[in-house]
């Protein structure tokens, strides 16, 4: 059966931020349509709208020429749209068989036919035979599976609904090359069965291997639609990068500064995500960490701060430190401004004052010298220009940008020598961002070293002295100030290793 899905002018806002302003996408039967774009360009949002996970604010979805509304994932399934989600939709305490056939169990009267369900599951599992461990059987609990096999179960679950339109959102990100080969073989079969496939991947080489057409998104807008044979990788990257001038002024920092003293040195850092990281930060340097989301950037910061387990060496002023608890790293002058401020950064119900003095309350002795604490907090909030009614108002009364200033303020109160920033400008308005940038520059000028991870590539380019680009838990490229352009940065984060080494050689 021929399938054709078109989305026209989809618009979606999240709490004042526009995620999609003009999302157009066409998927035809017997074709693989790749969806590409940089961080935050709206790929995942567009997919979620097509599969009914989020509702669009404006725009239309056409299935085979008919207007449809999908208000839930179940409804999408009924219209023959199945998705392999990036965030897994599996129940860990159930077996593989139970997960795949959940709500579609084979029934015998009121009883589930477990034997048949097992047989049907085995047939699906055979599609990926030889690429997985032997323990991969219908009765294996999903919680016991490694990430790649969970992803495969997720793919099989989508296959089992026999959809007309299949969406693969970063489905290959945790698979190894043999598993990817197998998946691509399956995709070729689906094409023969006239299914339409939407394929999202950051790996350029995969896109060119499998896609028939490529649609490019930038800042929530569809900016290009090509046949993959007729387009070059370089053109795609240029299209993904905004051509307008950088909003940040660069002129005063064009000259590379000279740094001498090494403050922090990291050697062979490994965690679950990180595969051996080496770098060092000099005194007064602003070092950026870039890359697509989830490549292990946060793990670097948390390892240095001592909030996750790791192996490897972290040296501070030439001395080996292995912080087991955040209090130890704090004592050495390290501070971490977390990414998710509501979860990790603030006590939302408590006052601004209490939040600001929280990490440094010891300084104010026992009993608490509340007069001095108040004075210091007032000074900090003034220097950060926090817009508030009073210091004793709860943090929940502040806007996003101002709340983030409180998080920063509470750590600046401790006068850190090394400041770790974990995507601090997410959901922060432009004005606050500007103040934030000048503050960071001031801090660097006074000798603070800053390690700055951001998902906003532009601000990294405009602000940092040097940027490390991460991919799959490794540093793939180091961009010094002289080579630091948005095109170079995005190209380094989406291009596969072989291509990268080819390009640099």
């Amino acid at each position: 059966m021929a399938q054709n899905l078109t989305s026209i002018d989809i618009v979606k806002h999240f709490a004042g931020v526009t995620a999609l302003s003009n999302g157009c996408l066409t998927a035809n039967s017997g074709e693989v349509t790749a969806l590409m774009g940089a961080n935050g360009s709206g790929k995942s949002t567009l997919c979620k709208i097509i599969t009914g996970v989020v509702a669009p604010d404006e725009g239309q979805l056409l299935l085979n020429g008919n207007l449809i509304t999908v208000s839930s994932p179940v409804e999408a399934l009924r219209s023959g749209i199945a998705a392999v989600y990036q965030e897994l939709s599996l129940v860990p305490s159930l077996t593989i068989a139970q997960n795949i056939w959940l709500t579609r169990e084979p029934m015998n009267g009121i009883f589930v036919k477990y034997r048949e369900q097992r047989k049907m599951t085995q047939e699906l599992l055979d599609l990926f035979s030889d690429t997985v461990h032997t323990s991969f059987s219908p009765d294996t609990l999903v919680s016991e599976l490694p990430p790649d096999e969970k992803q495969i179960v997720e793919i099989l679950k989508a296959i089992s609904t026999n959809p007309g339109i299949m969406i693969l959102d970063e489905a290959t990100s945790s698979l190894d090359s043999r598993q990817v080969d197998r998946l691509f073989k399956l995709i070729d079969e689906w094409k023969k069965q006239d299914k339409a496939i939407i394929f999202i991947s950051h790996r350029m080489s995969e896109v060119f291997r499998i896609a028939d057409r490529i649609t490019v998104l930038r800042n929530g807008q569809t900016v290009g639609d090509f046949e993959s044979k007729k387009v070059k990788e370089k053109d795609l990257i240029n299209l993904m990068v905004e051509k307008t001038k950088n909003r940040l002024e660069q002129k005063d920092t064009i000259i590379s500064k000279q740094f001498k003293e090494t403050v922090l040195k990291v050697t062979n850092l490994r965690t679950q995500l990180l595969q051996g990281i080496n770098f060092s930060v000099k005194k007064g340097e602003l070092l950026g960490i870039a890359g697509l989301q989830g490549q292990g950037q946060s793990d670097i910061l948390h390892s240095i701060f001592g909030s996750i387990r790791f192996s490897g060496k972290i040296e501070l002023d030439g001395k080996d430190h292995k912080f087991k608890h955040t209090s130890q790293s704090m004592a050495k002058g390290i501070a971490l401004v977390p990414g998710d401020r509501a979860k990790e950064g603030l006590l939302m119900r408590l006052s601004i004052l209490e939040n600001i003095i929280l990490p440094s309350w010891m300084k104010y002795g026992f009993p608490l010298n509340s007069g001095k604490a108040k004075k210091d907090a007032a000074k900090t909030s003034k220097s950060l220009k926090i817009i508030m009614a009073a210091l004793n108002m709860p943090v929940s009364s502040l806007s996003g940008g101002n709340a983030q200033k409180v998080v920063l303020g509470k750590w600046l109160q401790r006068k850190p020598r090394v400041l770790l920033l974990n995507d601090p400008t997410k959901g922060v308005d432009v004005g606050t961002k500007k103040e934030f940038y000048s503050l960071l520059k001031e801090l660097c000028a006074t000798g603070t070293s800053i390690l700055f991870f951001s998902s906003d590539d532009e601000e990294l380019v405009g602000l940092c002295d040097r940027v490390l680009v991460m991919r799959d838990g490794k540093i793939r490229k180091e961009l010094p100030k002289s080579e630091l352009t948005l095109t170079n940065l995005i190209s380094a984060s989406v291009t596969s290793n072989e291509e990268l080494s080819r390009a640099t050689n």
Partner: protein, 329 residues
């Protein structure tokens, strides 16, 4: 060794069964020494019968609690709900105490249980008040209603029914054991329905279950309703022991039901477990209390001693795991 380990994996009731065997052997050893061989031989079936009949109300409550916990919710009103139904059951025979009247009354009792369960379920899943709070609040509502129906301990049951329950020994085995076997059979069937499968899915990961198309709200209300119905059966088992009831009895049994479920190997986190574990959990709990009773400790330390033993039993699987980890290092 590998095979043994594989067998024990994911069987949440293995440790509870071991604990149960230890406790029941100690229990009968003590009864044996207390009574002497001759008397014991004559009366052991009667003792077992008495014991199990005494445990049955809590067994039923624990099963109701288990399915609610597996579903990822909790019911702190279950004991008091049983109190309401029990109070209702013993106050309906002023004129007519025939079998027909009894069946009529019991059907109404189940209706009360189901409605009360629906009330809990609606507040928990539709109004979205956390189950811990909702059912804690409704527990006071139920306790008040029970006191209103039956202000003082008392009431009566039709004599035919109580005699039948106490004196019949089908195939020579006590009634209580038959009832437990029937419960196990029903559970096995229930678990294999689609409803049973979805119960585990919701408890394991509510969001994933929803994304896969399980109607979480409707399902959770139904689970609370089923728990209410089981509580009505528990009330019947309770009033049949003495033929009367006490409105205060339910309160303490709520937490006992949670302890029994956990003692039976079903964790409070949801998604895994079953009804067989809780049955052993209740019997273990009951026999522990028996043993402490035999041990001639002063009455006032009894709660302390049995609480310590329960705490130890609850903690021992984790202790074993910790030790095993250390040994492997």
């Amino acid at each position: 060794m590998q095979r043994i380990r594989k067998f024990f994996k994911n069987k949440t009731f293995v440790f509870p069964v071991i604990l149960f065997v230890v406790v029941i052997l100690t229990n009968f050893a003590l009864q044996y020494t207390n009574l002497g061989p001759e008397k014991f031989e004559k009366r052991y079936m009667f003792l077992l019968d008495n014991n199990i009949r005494g445990f049955l109300p809590l067994i039923l409550l624990a099963i109701a609690q288990a399915i609610v916990l597996i579903n990822g919710s909790i019911d702190l009103s279950i004991g008091n709900l049983m109190g309401v139904v029990a109070a209702f059951l013993v106050t309906q025979y002023t004129v007519d105490d025939s079998i027909g009247r009894f069946l009529q009354v019991f059907a109404m009792a189940i209706g009360i249980g189901v409605m009360a369960g629906a009330l809990n379920g609606i507040f928990v899943s539709l109004v979205r008040i956390p189950p811990f709070i909702t059912t804690y609040a409704t527990s006071f509502v139920f306790s008040g209603i029970a006191m209103w129906i039956l202000p003082r301990p008392g009431g009566n049951m039709p004599e035919i029914v109580t005699t039948f329950y106490r004196k019949t020994l089908p195939l020579g085995l006590p009634m209580g054991i038959w009832i437990i076997l029937i419960i196990m059979l029903l559970w096995l069937m229930f678990k294999n329905t689609r409803f049973g499968a979805h119960m585990y899915a919701i408890g394991g990961n509510e969001k994933a279950a929803f994304t896969s198309g399980v109607s979480v709200i409707r399902h959770r209300i139904s689970v609370h309703m089923i728990a209410g119905a089981i509580a009505a059966f528990a009330a019947l088992a309770l009033v049949l022991i003495t033929g009367s009831s006490d409105s205060r009895i339910g309160g303490t049994m709520t937490l006992d039901s949670v302890v029994a479920v956990v003692l039976g190997g079903t964790p409070m986190s949801g998604g895994i477990g079953g009804a067989v574990g809780p049955i052993f959990g209740v019997m273990t709990l009951g026999f522990i209390r028996n043993i402490v009773g035999f041990a001639n400790v002063d009455t006032w330390v009894q709660p302390l001693v049995d609480a310590l033993i329960i705490l130890l039993s609850l903690a021992s699987p984790s202790f074993i795991k910790l030790i095993a980890k250390q040994v492997r290092k």
